[in-house]
């Protein structure tokens, strides 16, 4: 009797020891996984950090008031700035935004409201395809549409090209945001005798504002950095241009033009312009993050 009792206790304690060992092994595996995860996350940050450091080191030295406010000097003269490129990029983005933001938001509303309709299916497919089209191809399209008939390069054609790049980003962000808005909110509005258009504009859109704004800002950031489509369209110009039917300089084009030149002073200007563009895009991303957290709607 006593023997069997002790035997049972012995067997039980062996089992407990085995379980302890299993737990220890699992904890070790846990630690290993956590270390791996940290290492991989760190590796993911490395490329961005390297780019940032490199551009800041090479570019920041070019930055001064004259660089930001003066026009480029002719070849051979020292100094000169990129004010025309900064203004040009802003104008191009404004043109592209005026076209793509209303279109993109309206298309996004349509897709979220009528996703099952035939037009909805076709529209979604088109927008997703547009998202995947290389930007240089979009540049060629804008060239054939606008530059060819007009006979010369223009910032208008550049804006149209950028708009085609921004459009799918805005449309899909709007659609995804609106699809997340609970059905109960629409019902609340409709049950109060609110008409369908008013429900969309006064209830659904404000509720999805943070997501839509995020999409818009990301699209602007993306458009601001595009070079390829501008080569065929806005082209570039050493002068300050405000006429949207004339060629216009832009930051990405300045970088392309100066960086590929054989002159060290121009290459320094390219680094400076890269720095300005980087700050612009980073600022947009930070604003996006702030907007999303500030305007967060709790359902």
């Amino acid at each position: 009797m006593a023997d069997t009792h002790n035997g049972a206790i012995g067997a039980a304690s062996t089992r407990v020891r085995k379980m302890d060992a299993a737990v220890t092994a699992r904890l070790r595996g846990d630690t290993a996984f956590r270390v791996l995860m940290l290492a991989l996350s760190f590796i993911a940050i490395v490329p961005l950090a390297l780019i940032l450091v490199y551009i800041v080191v090479r570019g920041a030295s070019s930055i001064n008031w004259a660089f930001l406010t003066q026009l480029p000097k002719p070849m051979g003269e020292a100094g000169g700035g990129i004010s025309n490129a900064i203004v040009g990029t802003v104008i191009l983005i404004v043109i592209a935004s005026v076209i793509s933001i209303p279109l993109g938001i309206l298309a996004g509303i349509f897709l979220s409201e009528r996703s099952q309709s035939r037009l909805g299916t076709v529209a979604r497919l088109s927008v997703e395809t547009l998202m995947g089209i290389p930007s240089i191809v979009i540049g060629i399209v804008a060239y054939t549409w606008i530059v060819k008939p007009m006979g010369h390069f223009s910032s208008l054609s550049g804006g149209v090209a950028l708009a085609m790049i921004m459009l799918p980003v805005i449309t899909l962000a709007t659609e995804e945001t609106l699809l997340l808005i609970p059905m109960t909110l629409r019902e609340a509005a409709l049950a109060l005798g609110v008409s369908y258009p008013r429900m969309i504009t006064r209830v659904i859109l404000p509720s999805g504002m943070s997501g839509i704004l995020t999409g818009v800002l990301l699209a602007v950031a993306r458009g601001a950095g595009e070079t390829a489509p501008l080569l065929f369209t806005a082209f570039g110009s050493p002068f300050m241009a405000a006429n949207i039917f004339k060629p216009m300089e832009s930051l990405p084009h300045t970088i392309f033009y100066y960086a590929t030149s054989p002159y060290p002073e121009w290459q320094a200007l390219a680094w400076g312009a890269s720095f300005v563009l980087l700050v612009l895009v980073l600022a947009l991303n930070v604003i996006t993050k702030l907007v999303t957290s500030r305007w967060k709607i709790q359902f």
Binding site: T184, L185, A189, R198
Partner: protein, 259 residues
Amino acid sequence: MEDSVLTNGKTILETRALVAGFDGKDIVKSVSLAVPEGRITAVMGPSGCGKTTFMRCINRMHELAANAQVSGEVLLDGEDVYRINPILLRRRIGMVFQRPNPFPTMSIYENVVAGYNLNGARMSRVERDRIVEETLRRVTLWDEVKDALYRRGTFLSGGQQQRLCIARALAMKPEILLLDEPTSALDPKATAAIEELVVSLKGVVTIIQVTHNIPQAARISDYTAFIHLGELVEFGPTKTLFTVPKDKRTEEYLSGKFG
């Protein structure tokens, strides 16, 4: 079934052979019911019996689904609701849903007058203030929120949110208030507050409340309709229906044999 003897008051809403469902499958099967004015009518039945679908036909929310179908008549003050513009109809018949759904972008104040604001009504500030205070007092929320009128409605507790939603519907001065299981997402204390509020609204507005909570129907309603498998099994004064049910199925449901 729809004896006017039972209701001995004025009938405000009447359904005649109402059939409704989705994708050609009927969920509500020929329900004829006369709802007395100024009283609380409970529509009770097991889950999936069609009581919510029935209620959503009354303010034409049912037809918002693309695959919905409906036939039969719903008469509001003798007028066929399917001949009234749904937007105008829904201003006369308010609705409160299972889960509190205040507008998340609006303050408590704006939520109460949302029906006016969203419809673009022109009103003076004074008039708005009056409606907000009056309605919030009506739903016993005023004392709790009078110092937080400009905070978002979504900061309130679930029970307070639901009372805010009732206020939002009442602010439109509807003839009928539809309550679709308004306490199903709430704790017992908040449920009791809502029940008390509903009873206090008797005489102010006609109430039709859907519930699968048998004791709740018994506690608050004057009349009870029992719906099972899409059919109206029995309708009558709550006291009579709960004490001497005429139909065997009602008796079985009340004694917990199904549902």
